[in-house]
């Protein structure tokens, strides 16, 4: 081996080692919080602090919550189908088409809108008129396949369209959740789709949040806002309310059915369903019923902004939500209020009428929802209104929280186990292989440092199974050294010179090391690609450790041998 070659090797190794040490123990010089190292970074406390800041700990070590939820996309499809059925029937009535009845049929993976024409011969005429209607989304292009049977017109939502719409709903839910989480000020959340695509699952991880109840409440909040026309004699008469649902329905017609353009809704004045305070629970529920017109004047999609503000009327504890409308919504709203002076309008939240007021003058773009909110509930509600409605409600499949103290205990246990393992290995290697054992120990420690550096560079998180992966890397690293040393011993026994025994030992053992490493990396890659949380964390450290091991246990260890041999002209013995 030539001297220059050795020099190059040493320079490369030193450079990588210094880089690794820097990455692990010194402040980062790129990205957020970048700064140059200062004097205090070289104290033990400084190094500890930097180490803690550099390594991303997983939730199981740092504490936090982990939520897996499913978007109930079937709800979204159901609502879509029902809305279309109502819109189609309304359109037919408005245009005077010969249609007697219309409804939605919803089953498992089966969504259809059915209209009944007066006469089977009119089917084509009705179909064309309905599909061309602007408010109706029933067309082949949108995934509704048409069929007819007798005098019935049937639009079936195709499987492909169901999938596309469900995927879109999931994506929209993800966006809505992201807006809400960010508005809540959760630090460094992880939000992504989870599992197979057709499972419509979302994973949310929030480090440091050990009580996710408030977050869950905000996420769960299904905030559909509508401004509706309340059917009532105009002001100054009081708004028309009914004490029972039956009474409200009876006022519509004598047959006891609700026409398609009317809805009967609960009106719970001055109640706050999102706050479950004892005070509210003890009060008797003052439930009334009102009849409103459907579709609504405008809905939450026309909202530009919403904010929780102290109520102008109430005391210090009373809050209300002030909202403003977008241009298109303001136009519609302005036109309607202009035409309905003295009529009653209701603010409907999640199919519950929250407040009723009469129109004093034309309103264009602002309004408020009052109803004895607390500061937090008003702000949370405003937040969910701002972020838009969830396309469907969500259900939780998995929920884990880890307290910070539990995480600390796990780190301590993991680090202790690693150190004890490392110590045992080091002692044995020094005892059994003497001088060459030092090689192995240097390689091992370098491996640990570079693995940490690797985790930092790739921004990977260290989890509890990840620590287990590190312990196993120690095992594999030692195995490489044992393979090499045993081989060198064998070669020495056959009477070879030290130099050629080292050469041959490394050469032969290298083939085996490559084979063992590649097989383990292959199986770990599967874990990484298809595994879930903890399994993945384990695969990351193992893959990193194995790749680094090829450098530390083979390249570095060999360089040390070359250096040792180069110091003597004719090496006759080797401490191995």
């Amino acid at each position: 081996m030539k001297k220059t070659n050795l020099k190059l090797r040493v320079i490369l190794i030193l450079a990588i080692t210094i880089l690794g040490l820097y990455k692990v123990f010194m402040p980062n010089i790129t990205g957020a919080g970048a700064r140059l190292p200062k004097k205090s970074d070289f104290t033990i406390a400084g190094i500890k602090q930097n180490l803690r800041e550099n390594i991303h700990l997983g939730l199981d070590l740092k504490g936090g919550s982990h939520l897996v939820m499913r978007v109930k996309t079937e709800e979204h499809l159901k609502r879509l189908t029902e809305d279309n059925a109502v819109a189609a029937l309304n359109a037919a009535k408005a245009k005077g088409l010969p249609v007697s009845e219309g409804h939605a049929e919803v089953g498992t993976n089966n969504y259809r809108v059915v209209l009944t024409a007066d006469d089977a011969s009119k089917i084509n005429e009705v179909r064309e008129a309905i599909e061309n209607e602007r408010n109706v989304e029933l067309s082949d292009r949108l995934g509704w396949s048409f069929s007819s049977s007798g005098n019935k017109l049937i639009w079936n939502l195709t499987g492909a369209a169901q999938r596309t719409l469900s995927d879109e709903a999931t994506k929209q839910a993800l966006q809505t959740i992201e807006t809400r989480i960010n508005a809540l000020g959760v630090a460094e959340p992880t939000l992504q789709t989870h599992g197979a695509q057709d499972s419509h699952q979302i994973l949310l991880q929030m480090p440091g949040v050990t009580d996710p109840e408030r977050v869950k409440k905000v996420l769960r909040a299904d905030s559909r806002l509508e401004l509706v026309h309340v059917i009532s004699p105009p002001s100054p008469a009081p708004s028309q309310t009914y004490s029972t649902r039956e009474e409200a329905i009876a006022s519509l017609n004598s047959s006891g059915t609700i026409p398609a353009n009317r809805k009967v809704l609960e009106y719970s004045e001055r109640m706050d369903p999102s706050s479950e305070s004892k005070e509210n629970q003890n009060q008797p529920k003052a439930v009334k019923w009102v009849v409103v017109e459907t579709p609504a004047i405008i809905d939450g999609s026309e909202l530009r902004n919403a904010a929780g503000v102290p109520s102008r009327a109430g005391g210090t504890e009373d809050y209300e939500i002030q909202f403003s409308l977008k241009k298109s919504g303001a136009d519609k709203f302005g036109a309607w209020t202009g035409a309905h002076i003295n009529d009653y309008m209701g603010v409907v939240l999640n199919d519950q009428v929250r407040s009723i007021a009469y129109i004093k003058s034309q309103i264009t773009d602002t309004g408020e929802i009052s109803g004895r909110f607390t500061k937090e509930s008003a702000e949370d509600l405003a937040l969910t209104l701002r972020s838009g409605a969830l396309p469907a409600s969500i259900e939780y499949l998995e929920e884990r929280t880890v307290g910070a103290s539990l995480g600390d205990d796990s780190i301590r246990a993991g680090v202790r186990a690693s150190l004890v393992g490392l110590l045992l290995v080091v002692l044995f290697m020094l005892f059994y292989y003497r001088g060459s054992g030092v090689n192995a120990v240097v390689a091992l420690i370098l491996n640990m440092i570079l693995m940490m550096a690797g985790l930092i560079i790739f921004g990977a998180t260290l989890t509890l199974p990840g620590i287990a992966g590190i312990i196993l890397t120690i095992g594999m690293a030692v195995d490489s050294n044992v393979l090499i040393f045993e081989r060198i011993r064998e070669e020495l026994r056959t009477g070879k010179t030290v130099a050629s025994a080292v050469e041959q030992g490394f050469g032969r053992a290298f083939v085996t090391i490559i084979d063992t490493h590649v097989t383990t990396v292959v199986s770990s890659l599967f874990l990484f690609l298809f595994g879930t949380g903890p399994i993945r964390g384990f695969a990351v450290t193992l893959i990193l450790g194995l790749i680094i091991n090829l450098f530390s246990a083979v390249y570095v260890s060999r360089t040390i041998f070359i250096w040792l041999l180069s110091r003597k002209e004719r090496a006759e013995s080797l401490s191995i």
Binding site: L397, G403, G475, D479, F526
Partner: protein, 373 residues
């Protein structure tokens, strides 16, 4: 120079029947335990199932509670039962005297429809039950003088997620095995790959057998441990196979039987040292890793032991047996009058394996009768 083995000459393959019998017995013991427990469970639902699946796979809740003064497990159980949860298991944490784990199966079939957005409503009941022991600390337990306990961790897995995790764990394990098989087949021969995978499969089954017999809980981390032992066991097997491949090139005249024995003996020091060291570091995990790492470490401890054993006692004999069978079949082909696949039949001597078997395989069946004659 300290050496564990000097020039060993053990005839490993001579004992193959004993080895394989022992392994089959161990696997049968595990299988018997699983089947018996499952059968018993069906007659008596309170008896344990084949495997003690953790909440990850079965669904359910685990709540970790830290007490200032831990009440006896029976009292906690009674308090929780009063809230209507009767099948909760109260498990004191062995390495932390002030903590308990409250484990319970899922309450009720569906939680989403009730409007309650919790995965498991049972958790609320446990929280209510715990309140009878005092108040929960808002911050750190030690710094709150009025608090009696603190919930330091919760886990809840719904039935859908549980099943999903279970299926995924099985799929990932099988995929990893196939990956290993393909790589070894590519680097060696497919017989080597198959032998290695059979050995690994054996290790996983034996380890699972232990988990059934002793009813240790199987969680996601235990699956990670099983996958690790797959890696380690294959690692061991490859070291031996690698030496066999090398020796076959060096000593073309020796029989595969002798070469295999020699190779095992030559790598014996390495096998013992590496496995011993890994065993020691895993033992450190069992002892110092605490409750969280217990399942993981114990699975590895058993797995590493059997992984080492199987690479010597299972993988090598199977590979030798298989190769000899193929060799005999090929020789029979070569002796047969007018071999149909003439070029391929002669190519395989007892020297270096030749990768042209598909042609010979095609005619093996047709000429078997002729070969025996």
């Amino acid at each position: 120079m300290i050496q564990i083995f000097k020039d060993v000459k053990i005839d490993w393959l001579a004992n193959r029947r004993v080895f394989i019998a022992v392994s089959i017995l161990l696997m049968l013991a595990g299988l018997f335990s699983a089947i018996y427990r499952q059968w018993n469970h069906q007659r008596n639902p309170s008896a344990p199932q084949a495997f003690n699946l953790g909440v990850d796979f079965k669904g359910g809740s685990v709540i970790t509670v830290k007490f200032k003064q831990r009440p006896p497990a029976e009292r906690i159980h009674a308090a929780i039962a009063q809230q209507g949860v009767h099948d909760a298991i109260i498990q004191p944490v062995t390495d932390k005297p002030d903590e308990v784990l409250v484990k319970m199966p899922l309450e009720g079939p569906d939680t989403g429809s009730s409007g309650d957005a919790q995965v498991d409503p049972g958790q609320t009941k446990v929280r209510r039950a715990l309140a009878s022991f005092g108040s929960e600390a808002a911050g750190d337990l030690a710094s709150d003088p009025n608090a009696a306990y603190k919930i330091v961790g919760t886990e809840a897995v719904g039935p859908v997620a549980g099943q999903q995790l279970r299926n995924k764990a099985i799929a990932v394990t099988l995929a990893a095995l196939v990956g290993i098989l393909l790589y070894i087949a590519f680097r060696f021969e497919w017989t080597y790959g198959a032998a290695a995978v059979i050995a690994v499969f054996h290790d996983v089954l034996v380890t699972l057998g232990f988990f059934s017999i002793f009813q240790w809980e199987i969680s996601l981390t235990v699956i990670a441990a099983l996958l690790t032992l797959v890696g380690f066991s294959v690692n061991d097997t490859i070291v031996v196979f690698d030496r066999i491949r090398e020796n076959r090139r060096l000593h073309r005249r020796d029989s595969l039987y002798k070469i295999t024995n020699d190779s095992i003996n030559q790598t014996l020091s390495r096998t013992v040292i590496t496995s011993g060291l890994v065993f020691l570091s895993v033992l450190a995990m069992v002892i110092f890793g605490g409750e969280v790492l217990f399942g993981f470490s114990v699975a590895l401890l058993i797995g590493i032991s059997f992984g080492t054993y199987s690479s010597v006692a299972i993988a090598s004999p199977i590979m030798v047996w298989w190769e000899q069978r193929l060799d005999a079949a090929n020789r029979a082909l070569a002796l047969a009058p007018k071999p149909l696949g003439g070029t391929a039949a002669g190519a395989r001597t007892n020297g270096v394996p030749v990768k042209s078997r598909p042609a010979a395989a095609g005619v093996r069946n047709q000429s078997r009768g002729a070969g025996r004659a």
